[in-house]
Amino acid sequence: MNYRTLSPAELDALQEISNIGVGNAVTSLAQLINQRVEMSVPRACFLPFEEVIALVGGYEELVGCVSLRVLGDAPGMVLFIFSEESTYRLVDMLMGLPPGSTAALDQMAESAVKEVGNVLTGSFISAIGMMTGLKMITTVPLFAFDMLGAVLTSLMVAAGRVEDQVLVIETGMFNHNDAQIKGHFFLLTEPGAIDRLMAALGLGAGQA
């Protein structure tokens, strides 16, 4: 089974949804930490698995990954992947520590990162839900801090997304003061979910 290719209008819509979702997420994060957070315009596209790995780093690169499942009308999974360095800076930021304080993850740090994922995902998904009128609910976050390849493949398998091909991708970055935090944001949808999103936006109806 393959994903159908999206028309330019649909890609635009996907990009727009992503922009709004990420914008909303970043605002929530800024409120959480009471500091300014910026984002770069995300890119919405479909990529094969290998290219996703290349986009973030390499198979063996140490990354922090928060994931939440999305339930409801457009089911799927949301992932936030941060480089090792960014994961530490994220912890600094959340704990109100000077940048550079964190150099390893303990339980406390882990739950802080999970919470960021929770807040970002929750606001991302609710923005999309609001815009489309679709019902979308997120589950509790999961966390891993390990090799990128191991983390991504395990998630795809657990999510039942074993089609080695495409994920729906979103890349967002956010900077915070001097501490650069770089994160990649991915939305893995179950078959049919993108069609439902498009239909809810009045696009792509009637296509297979």
Binding site: S154, L155, D164
Partner: protein, 166 residues
């Protein structure tokens, strides 16, 4: 412990397998819940490495890559090894991977696919009467597996740990 640099490295992708002769090194990166299965015919110094993702293909209606599944991938790689002259009676195996990468409370996501992968791999190998000489499975760490066809050794790389040999 670091392998010599002049060896030929052959990378095995996800849901794929490769076969090599001495002095080839078969390597697969970032095994999480996936399992790497090495097969070795010491008489020929012929090795095969399979990177499987899921235990059971019968749960899926259309299977495009048999190497993705333990139940199809293992027979497939054994068949290919035989074509290269390997004898079933000489084959020996090692297993790496099958971890539970994620911590959290979402029980649907923490269903232990890693463990089911390694169990199915064992079961399949047993059906063929292939002994498993060593295993490095389970846990919650990602692993890279490097299989040296000159002596059948398997090296395991984990982040922040020393290279381990099985």
């Amino acid at each position: 412990m670091e392998p010599a640099r002049d060896r030929i490295e052959i990378q095995v992708g996800i849901a794929d397998y490769k076969i090599a002769r001495e002095p080839g090194q078969l390597i697969t990166l970032g095994l999480g819940s996936c399992v790497g299965v090495s097969l070795y015919d010491p008489a020929l110094k012929l090795g095969g490495l399979l990177h499987l993702m899921l235990p059971d293909s019968t749960q899926f209606s259309n299977v495009t890559r048999p190497a993705k599944f333990a139940d199809l991938g293992i027979p497939l790689i054994i068949g290919e090894m035989k074509k290269q002259g390997a004898r079933l009676s000489r084959l020996q195996s090692k297993l790496v991977g099958g971890a539970q990468m994620f911590s959290g409370l979402d029980s649907k996501m923490t269903l232990n696919i890693g463990r089911r992968n390694s169990e199915m791999a064992r079961q399949m190998l047993q059906q063929y009467g292939i002994p498993i000489l060593a295993e490095e499975v389970g846990g919650n760490r990602g692993r890279t597996m490097i299989f040296d066809t000159s002596d059948g050794r398997v090296l395991i790389r984990m982040l922040g740990s020393k290279l381990k040999v099985i």
